[in-house]
């Protein structure tokens, strides 16, 4: 995957898209093959180590910290880039205060980016689904990732929210974040992706720019259907 690009992975249900995500982020260990990120092999590493290298993800079924506020959710995203340990936190050492202030500031920035700053002090549990997805992105963004994996970010979003999501994905690329996207919303995928990989039953059947993939006969047969015309 080229850095700074948006790559989409599409395919019918059960094609292995989420499995691919779980392998890349360490939630599953592959039986064979390698995952290379910045020249390092990732397979077999635990998820938190992979995240610490700058790989962030969202979940197909939203996984927020529901008993925490919106702001606190984003603050957890800063875990990778802060240091204070248990003892420093309990004693509230001077250095910890400064770090805490920085964490809050950057969490606010992430919330502002996704448009959730006005709900910062609400409980994450009460957000509607669309905003929950936005908060997951903000939280992942707070980690300052090099690579961001978005697992069906548009599912459950209305047209306006999807439009907003599209702008956000493009803005992320502007910031130099590489994005791997799994999405069933084809118009969104075709609009934002620089290239698209098509999976079917765990097999890669096509890989190329959107225009190429749209006309690929096997892709049309397996997934897009004959009535998809961009």
């Amino acid at each position: 995957m080229p850095p700074g690009a948006i790559k989409a992975v599409i395919g019918p249900n059960g094609a292995g898209k989420t499995t691919l995500f779980n392998v890349v982020t360490g939630f599953l260990t592959p039986q064979g093959g390698r995952v290379i990120f910045k020249g390092e092999e990732l397979q077999g590493l635990p998820p938190h180590t992979i995240a610490a290298l700058g790989v962030a993800r969202t979940f197909q079924l939203v996984q927020l910290f529901e008993r925490m506020t919106v702001l606190e959710n984003a603050m957890v995203g800063r875990h990778r880039l802060s240091r204070a340990g248990l003892l420093a936190g309990a004693l509230r050492l001077p250095g910890t205060r400064e770090e805490e202030a920085a964490i809050r500031r950057q969490a606010w920035e992430a919330l502002e980016f996704v448009g959730l700053a006005d709900r910062a002090h609400q409980s994450a549990a009460v957000l509607p689904l669309g905003l929950k997805r936005m908060l997951e992105i903000a939280r992942a963004l707070a980690l300052a990732p090099t690579l961001m994996l978005l697992d069906e970010p548009a599912s459950g979003l209305d047209a306006r929210e999807t439009q907003r999501l599209q702008e956000m994905i493009l803005a992320l690329r502007e910031q130099g974040v590489t994005i791997l996207l799994v999405e069933h919303d084809m118009s969104l995928t075709m609009e934002v992706a620089d290239s698209i990989a098509v999976l079917n039953y765990g097999r890669l059947i096509a890989d190329g720019p959107p225009r190429y993939v749209q006309k690929h006969p096997e892709v049309i047969a397996a997934y897009l259907g004959t009535d998809w015309q961009a």
Binding site: H48, A51, R67, V76, H79, R80, A90
Partner: protein, 322 residues
């Protein structure tokens, strides 16, 4: 505004502790207050583990016992300085918690509960059987009181002045912790371990850390307990006491620092005040645990607030109070 609210709470706490010290003139009440304090230390620690990190321990009394016996044996048998013995107890408890935690925290839910339960039973058996060291079932006597300079904490009133400032410090440390980077990671792992991992939180390590940390609170409580009673016996550190601690956490409210104080207070005073507790203690604690879990799952504090809100809502003809 947050800072002033916090300041008020701590000033209030300090004022209440001082006021009680001046008003109470009876050793019995001081003793009761001292036990509330010692229980609070245990409950806050267990609450960090259960309420915040979401890890269930049914063997917390074992760490309390390890702390108490470390202090007891070192001071009564080997005449070590009590403060040094307290530190030794912390080291022993910390190491024990670490060794138990590494395998046990790989387990989840019921299995973790079972593993900690097993640990509690093993410690209980050792306290009974290692008679040469512990004095066995008949207990260990002759534990000296703690002293600073010439002042010996050998009366309930003096012990009060040692125990309650300690409680204040532990409550403050815990409140700080919960609202820190580590505290947020703890609460995060409780809600979604997968999401916490995806944000670079090493959940296995964090669980181990908080397990050891909560054992350290129990160790302090154990040492204070040993020097308060000057005598300890295994029955104080058995399975039943672990269950009492869990009940205190649940009654006060999971993930509530101040609730821990309330839970400890209520369940320390009730058995003293109600004679029925003597014969049916196990049944009553079980019943309290059940009733709270079913009707007040968020604990006494939140539950009563909800009830009050609901009554006001009904009284005002169904308008949501602002």
């Amino acid at each position: 505004m947050r800072l002033s609210a916090l300041l008020n709470r701590w000033t209030l706490f300090a004022a209440a502790v001082l006021l009680l010290a001046l008003v109470v003139d009876n050793d019995y009440y001081f003793t009761l207050l001292n036990f509330i304090g010692i229980h609070t230390l245990l409950v806050v620690g267990l609450n960090l583990l259960m309420g915040y990190a979401g890890q269930i321990s049914l063997g917390h009394a074992a760490f309390f016992g390890l702390g108490a016996y470390s202090s007891g044996i070192l001071t009564a048998t080997y005449h070590v300085n009590p403060w040094l013995a307290l530190v030794a107890g912390l080291v022993i408890c910390g190491i024990a918690a670490y060794l138990i935690g590494v395998p046990a925290l790989k387990l989840r839910g019921y299995y973790l509960a079972m593993a900690t339960l097993g640990f509690g039973i093993i410690v209980y058996i050792i306290l009974n059987e290692a008679q040469k060291w512990t004095g066995g079932p008949s207990g260990l006597a002759g534990i000296p009181s703690l002293a600073v300079g010439g002042l010996s904490f050998n009366t309930p009133g003096r012990l009060y002045l040692l125990i309650w400032p300690t409680v204040g410090v532990i409550l403050a440390l815990s409140a700080n912790l919960v609202d820190s980077r580590t505290g947020r990671a703890l609460r995060a792992l409780h809600d979604s371990e997968a999401a916490a991992e995806s944000l670079a939180v090493d959940t296995a390590r964090l669980k181990l850390k908080i397990f050891v940390w909560s054992a350290l609170y129990a160790s302090v409580a154990g040492s204070l307990y040993a020097h308060t009673l000057n005598f300890i016996a295994p029955t104080s550190f058995g399975f039943m006491f672990s269950i009492k601690l869990v009940t205190m956490v649940v009654l006060g409210g999971m993930a509530s620092i101040w609730g821990s104080l309330l839970g400890a207070a209520v369940l320390t005073v009730l058995p003293e005040a109600l004679a029925v507790f003597h014969d049916f203690e196990v049944v009553i604690f079980g019943l309290i645990l059940m009733v709270v879990m079913i009707f007040l799952p968020q604990g006494l504090v939140r539950g009563l607030l909800d009830l009050w809100e609901w009554r006001r809502y009904k009284r005002e003809g169904g308008h949501i109070p602002v």
